[in-house]
């Protein structure tokens, strides 16, 4: 199979497994889901290194979201 198809199938499988896995564990924090989505996105990106039509806006958005989640968590701990 073409490398890009394997990449998309792997990413879809990982995202689906994260949702099913965390839902089974009754996880109700959305930031946990988003953090794991970000990790799985960058892991598949590093493994398959797909080409892009345009700059990686998805990666940038996920990275910003992940950074904000971490920043809020750190602030929460420091201000406690």
């Amino acid at each position: 199979m073409d490398k890009h198809k394997v990449y998309l199938v792997s990413l879809a499988s990982l995202l689906f497994l994260i949702v099913v896995g965390l839902a089974t564990l009754k996880e109700t924090r959305l930031d946990v889901y988003v953090s794991l989505f970000t990790v799985s996105y960058f892991v598949t990106l590093a493994v398959f290194r797909p080409r892009r039509r345009v700059s990686d806006v998805v990666g940038a958005t996920l990275f910003i979201a992940f950074s904000l989640i971490v920043a809020f968590k750190v602030a929460e701990i420091l201000l406690r």
Partner: protein, 231 residues
Amino acid sequence: MGFGLAMVFFGVPFTAFTYWILSSVPLTALGLACVILGATIMITPSSPVPKGAIRAMVEGSCVNVETLLEECNVTEKAFYLPPKEGRVYVFVPLRSNPHLPDASEVMRAPMRVITEVRGSPGLLIFPPGSELTRLSGLSSGSGLEDALRHVLVDFVEAAESVKAVREGDKVVVDLVRPRLRTDFPRFRRVLGSLVTSIAGCVLASCLELPVVFDEEQGDGERVRAVFRVIS
């Protein structure tokens, strides 16, 4: 592209609906996953390069080089020169010379088809791998193996994997399952097979020193090429 767009169009309202109306985090996450996947599909080209056509064009570009080498009856091994204006050139001596010229001499060779180094005539050829190396956007600080993998495996998809080892002045490049064919005997003898020639261009570009194609061994599954770095 259309499927990705459909996933994003489904995912966005689904996420909003499940978050604010249903207050279900797992379903919201599912909607977000749809958006991420849809957007990823949209920015990932379904057929990034028509591989067959590109490979045929690259293979076809060897014909001119082969003709020139045949015409000049060249038998000496090629020197891959570091990029000048972003392009790697190949110097091929027309006469046998047991003493290799040093790097600065080769790099100072006048830019003509028939040129000379230390009074010894040679051809200055523009190999097919030169433009591929330039277009791949190879970064200057890349390691040898990373650079070879970037160009040969990721950019041209000319081999399944590649390994490179530098031992003193020799660089051994091991290519697994090369996908480009070279049916040009003179080209193979002087510059190596097409994948080896591309590897030579990458090495010259990466090391910023001339490299000489030394030898090549291989079956259909693997190709092992040896280059010598001139400093």
